[in-house]
């Protein structure tokens, strides 16, 4: 039986930050859902213009990156600094896949003349997904900093709070997308 901790993994400050971020996204999601309830036909019509294949690839990329981060934490717990850095590098690469696919999606819409002011659906779609996009970017920077320190031997089996802190932030980014994907691309 594993002993349970009072504190979540990583620095407690990141969890307060995570709670604040999750709160903002919760408000965003609720605003989307209640606005949609007032404009069901508009939202259903323009949701059809979104490419759910891109969204699928992006969901798979983020889940895979989260899995790689879990493996990175497992590696540092075993005192394998290089392996930890490699897993984090793989997670960052999957984050890169997400950004490239999302950029392709944006390019498609912008080429068709879509902007924030096109209609209410696109206003929510663009602002919500771009806000998340920026979080992915921020997460990649955090993971890169952690990977670099791990590669230089800055973490060990007895001191890896930094790895867990970065990992917790990255899982939060994944968690938000887990709701965003069905809400924006599938539910109608």
């Amino acid at each position: 039986m594993t002993e349970k901790n009072r504190q979540p993994p990583g620095d407690l400050a990141i969890w307060i930050f995570i709670c604040a971020e999750l709160g903002v996204f919760a408000v965003f999601f609720a605003a989307y859902a209640f606005t949609r309830a007032q404009h069901v036909e508009l939202f259903n019509r323009y949701q059809q213009t979104l490419n759910s294949n891109y969204a699928l690839i992006n969901t798979l990329a983020l889940i895979t990156s989260s899995y790689f981060v879990v493996r990175a934490v497992a590696a540092i717990r075993d005192d394998h600094q290089r392996s930890c850095a490699r897993w984090l590098g793989a997670a960052i690469a999957m984050g890169g896949v997400f950004l490239v696919v999302k950029s392709m999606e944006y390019h498609h819409h912008f080429s068709a003349g879509v902007t924030l002011s096109t209609n209410t659906f696109y206003m929510f779609y663009l602002s919500l997904t771009f806000f998340h996009f920026m979080h992915v970017l921020m997460g990649m920077v955090i993971l890169a900093a952690v990977a670099l320190k791990a590669r230089r031997g800055g973490y060990s089996a007895s001191a890896y709070t930094g790895v867990e802190t970065g990992a917790s932030y990255w899982h939060m980014v994944d968690l938000v997308w887990i709701i965003l994907f069905p809400l924006v691309y599938v539910m109608r």
Partner: protein, 96 residues
Amino acid sequence: MTTTRRNALVRPCTIIYLLLIGLTLLTWALGRFNDRIGLPVATLSMTVLGIALLKGQLIGDFFMGLRRVRGAWRWVVTLWLLLPASLIGYAFLSSY
């Protein structure tokens, strides 16, 4: 944070990962092929929302490591999932 077990043939976190992948494919397929499947839209929406809750809980418990935490922090992801999901569910159900 992780669910590693040295003597296990497959790491528990790998099983969770594969489950998450499967649930993602199921969500996508339900949206993509519902014209052929023929689920009522309310059923489709509530099903994929339920799947998202399950996926979120798996990420919180196994990837974020909260199943090994006791006290208030243990439930932070669960509470977060339930809050927007209940609002989303209410808003969608009231729109049909």
